[in-house]
């Protein structure tokens, strides 16, 4: 029985998978980055389908709107060209593709096993208010700690980049 929700999910999943395949198969970095944007947006729409409005919007604002823009900015700045094929990349075709397939099957197996026992989750829209209450009341300590971690990583990058002076 295909409800509209499942139909939309299937379409989004197909788009996400196609986007990720294109991300790997494209030979130009900009095209790969654009494929990644497509994946991000279809993921955001899937969150929306699950009723997680805030997460969906933030996914687009942060990942598609900021991080991927920086990716593209760097690619443009470096003026990266089409990727080249070497002997090593031919090796990757014969060893990497089978290994990747095995890895995919493994993940599919474990996710399948884990979700078989789960019932359908409660289908409800989580309001932004509830989410923020959770984040800033119950989980405020891990939340702030994470932001400190990110800040430290940022400062570290800055120090590494400026060392020559």
């Amino acid at each position: 029985m295909i409800t509209p929700q499942i139909a939309v999910f299937l379409i989004l999943a197909a788009v996400a998978v196609a986007g990720s395949l294109s991300l790997i198969l494209q030979r130009h970095p900009i095209h790969s980055a654009l494929s990644l944007v497509v994946v991000m947006i279809s993921l955001a729409l899937m969150y929306l389908l699950q009723g997680a409005e805030f997460i969906a919007a933030v996914q687009i604002i942060v990942y598609a709107g900021a991080i991927m823009v920086l990716f593209i900015f760097v690619i443009m700045l470096l003026n990266a060209g089409v990727e080249e094929r070497t002997n090593l990349s031919r090796l990757a075709k014969f060893v990497g593709v089978p290994l990747g397939g095995v890895f995919l099957l493994e993940i599919a197996y474990w996710i399948g096993r884990a979700t078989l026992r789960l019932g359908a989750g409660p289908q409800q829209t989580v309001s932004t208010r509830e989410l923020s209450t959770l984040l800033f009341r119950e989980y405020v300590f891990p939340f702030e700690l994470t932001s400190f971690l990110i800040l430290i990583a940022l400062l570290g990058a800055l120090v590494l980049a400026r060392r020559e002076e």
Partner: protein, 408 residues
């Protein structure tokens, strides 16, 4: 008809709304170019468009036809797919964002179906707007990169850095207004500003209690001008340095699409400023019986404008103008008379005040462009990161402290 609408609400109610809004928006875009050229011309003691139609009123039409019939050149070595994608992305994103804007009071009834005054009313309306704005960088950046040319590339690089930087200040500057309203829903944001103080002025967020968002608004507007790549922040297309920046290699209708995207973004930002800080569709006057006469202001404005236009049109230079302008004036007078009818008086309140406020912001946009010289690139970055961002964070901190203090 009511039954039909109940059966197919999407087809009978939503689709016509989309078509009408799209038509109005595209017309508004066309006439915004005329408005900008006229205002900038008068700032610089020129006449502006004057030849095509009375007061150049048919100039947008002539420009549109010209855009359609120009040769569409694709530069050699351009990345074809991305080159075609960029203008499409820019325009479609800019137009989509208008879908979440509420133009009037919360509910509207068409054929017995309650429907929002606007295309849709989302709980996360504001976040959707910011999501779309943040995606808008792609149009400019990809156009610059795919043209395979040095000036567009420089323009694209500049604008992606600029838009990412100013997006932070833009988002932080509205947090104060959101904190006072406690919602991301644009309709509820407007409704939270309802009412007037005992001393007369409306409770809009710009003079809201406990923290007037004057600074929030100033920061928001500066960041928004930068975010929409308009003068004095139009470094992406600085013609004195980069020919035309990111759209140098675009011609014909693809260029027109960038042009329209820029103006659509201006309209969206003006709508957002109205909703967040200036009470959206709310009238500035109290709703007490003593102020009931203010409900006839829209009708009076249309009547006066129509009469003035007709009186001016009769003495216009060309015969064509002597026919067209008075007819336009009579149409305005007829609309004004219509708006005095009891049904129309209620319906017209929201859109009239909303569009009036938006028009004021659009005028400020053009005024700023006609007045201020362009920033230098390092000044732009310093201003964004060292002035706008810290101030907007300070605004958030002070506002939240005051809100907690008042609630205590």
């Amino acid at each position: 008809m009511n039954e039909l609408a109940a059966q197919h609400p999407l087809l009978i109610v939503v689709l016509p709304k989309i078509v009408i809004l799209l038509f109005l928006l595209l017309t508004a875009l066309a006439y915004l170019t005329w408005f900008e050229r006229k205002v900038v011309a008068h700032i610089q003691s020129r006449w502006g468009p004057f030849r095509v139609g009375p007061h150049g009123l048919l100039q947008p039409l002539a420009d549109g036809v010209k855009f359609l019939f120009k040769e569409d050149v694709t530069p050699a070595g351009a990345d074809k797919f991305v080159y075609f994608l960029a203008p499409f992305l820019a325009l479609s994103l800019a137009i989509t964002s208008i879908a979440v804007i509420p133009f009037g009071p919360k509910e509207l009834t068409i054929f017995g179906q309650a429907t929002p005054f606007g295309i849709t009313n989302l709980n996360i309306g504001l976040l959707v707007l910011f999501a779309i704005t943040s995606m808008g960088v792609y149009g400019v950046a990809l156009a610059g990169w795919s043209s395979n040319s040095k000036y567009p590339l420089l323009g694209g690089l500049r604008s992606s850095a600029q838009m990412v930087s100013y997006e932070l200040a833009l988002t932080m500057s509205v947090v104060g207004a959101i904190l006072m309203a406690g919602t991301f829903n644009l309709s509820e944001l407007v409704l939270s500003q309802q009412g007037n103080y005992w001393w007369g002025l409306p409770k809009w967020n710009i003079i809201g209690w406990p923290m007037p968002q004057v600074f929030g608004f100033a920061l928001f507007f500066v960041a928004a001008v930068a975010e929409t790549n308009r003068a004095p922040f139009d470094l992406a297309e600085a013609e004195s340095e980069l020919v035309a920046g990111f759209h140098t290699e675009y011609a014909s209708f693809k260029f027109a699409m960038f042009f329209m995207a820029e103006y659509a973004a201006m309209i969206t930002v003006s709508c957002l400023a109205t909703i967040l800080f200036f009470g959206g569709w709310l009238s500035p006057f109290p709703e007490t019986p003593a102020w009931a006469w203010t409900r006839f202001i829209p009708a009076a404005a249309f009547l006066l404008a129509g009469l003035a236009l007709a009186a001016h049109g009769i003495r216009y230079l060309t015969i064509f103008g002597r026919i067209v302008l008075p007819v336009l004036g009579i149409v305005l007078v007829a609309l004004g008379l219509l708006f005095t009818q009891p049904m129309a008086v209620v319906l017209v309140q929201g859109p009239f005040w909303f569009l009036l406020k938006v028009a004021v912001f659009l005028f400020i946009y053009v005024w700023v462009r006609g007045t201020l010289p362009r920033f230098r690139y390092d000044q732009l970055m310093n201003f964004g990161w060292k002035v706008l961002l810290p101030l907007s964070i300070a605004n958030v901190v002070v506002t939240s402290l005051l809100i907690v203090w008042v609630q205590r």
